[in-house]
Amino acid sequence: MSKVRVLVGTRKGAFILTSDGKREKWDVSGPHFAGWEIYHVKGSPADPNRLYASQTSGWFGQIIQRSDDGGKTWLQPGTPAGQPAAPGPPKSESNKFVYDTSAESGKPLTTHQWYDGTQHQWEFKRVWHLEPSLTDPDTVYAGIEDAALFRSTDGAQNWQELSGLRGHGTGPNWQPGAGGMCLHTIILDPSDPQRMFIAISAAGAFRTDDGGKTWKPINRGLRSQYIPDPNAEIGHCVHHVAMHPSRPGVLFMQKHWDVMRSDDAGDNWKEISGNLPTDFGFVIDVHAHEPETIYVVPIKSDGEHYVHEGKLRVYRSRTGGNEWEALTKGLPQKDCYVNVLRDAMAIDSLDKCGVYFGTTGGQVYASTDAGDSWAPIVRDLPSVLSVEVQTLA
């Protein structure tokens, strides 16, 4: 019988929620890494027992955790599990993210734009997103703040920057969004191992077609009133991007304001906000079996980061955008003022597919019927930063 495992990152630890395929009764494990911010936890598609977690703290910096048994036990890659390393040269480099400033990258890579328009030195702050390879459990990508893309090919023991992204020329014009200058979205193309999409707040979306050596901005059609040139190539605050694996050329984007769609792998975008009550938001995701069915959670505005009209509503479009229906059954419809952050929605691949999202109020909601109805799995976790789901055989 199938199982599902929901991986939840919160402001004060990670939680793992498991259920059988009915998704009615849930076992809650955690907090793992209690007291630390867990920005993201994600499993390897090639080995579901291999999990990676980003554990971070303003005090103590970045830690990378790895599990090889589905989250029962964890280790910092490079350190023997459960015991201190012997005296001698340090073995663990797993939290060492050093920007590439080598001559080969061709650029000094030293500054980006600060909030006030001046240039500011790149500084590593944290890992926002971990994206395991589709085929190799030991290969994983990390999206970091200040924005850059790193890759490990040894199970997160060592990290190297794919510096062609920052070095391609527009880096000095990137600037931080309200949450910092983060690389938060990494999408691997299942049909083309050389193609990858990433997104940065507030720079925009980028694509590589050569495995990460060279990159180009893919922001044509985005329009942002909060930058001097609303149609600029760079400077858009992209919040999240989603893709259905069967149609890797079709991308859906929740921008700061505006829900967008591209049918040519990001070369051109058009707005699909349609009848949404507000088109500000963070999450966007695609149905597991219907590539034209997409989900968003509208948020009132950039100044009021909570759901519109005190109602927690997921909006679903079955037409690839423009025509949206509110999904409310089982969700609070008054006095609700939570937010749903950019990595806090996930969809399993059972039939009917399950949809999951976590709120800043600590609830994790699940729908077992593709969004028609909802129920909380847990109600009182710390503020939720990220939600991922694994469908297990």
Binding site: W59, P84, P90, N95
Partner: protein, 98 residues
């Protein structure tokens, strides 16, 4: 033998109690103590000082003998009481919310 007291989260990470003891060769300085600490507990690399710059992380402070040593040179000798093991070096997280 040098004594070091760690903040709670780093004890959890290193799987140790509140105080750890270290052998330090040569002069006892912030740098030599932290080098020895990280060599023995590699999971603490990057948590007290930046991996690339080796600068003290801004929300952490170093105290010993009731003195704030946070802004001393990392290569300045630590007090004799620390070098002799009579007093510990305290690594403390700033109280700043969280």
């Amino acid at each position: 033998m040098i004594r070091v007291i760690l903040p709670q989260h780093l004890r959890t990470l290193a799987k140790v109690g509140s105080e750890v003891t270290l052998e330090v060769e040569g002069q006892v300085t912030q740098r030599s103590v932290l080098d020895a600490l990280e060599a023995r507990y590699p999971m603490l690399r990057g948590t007290i000082r930046d991996q690339a710059t080796q600068q003290r992380r801004p929300f952490l402070r170093f105290f010993a003998c009731e003195e704030d040593l946070s802004h001393e040179s990392p290569d300045a000798p630590l007090p004799d009481e620390v070098a002799s093991g009579k007093e510990p070096l305290l690594i403390i997280g700033a109280i700043a919310g969280g």
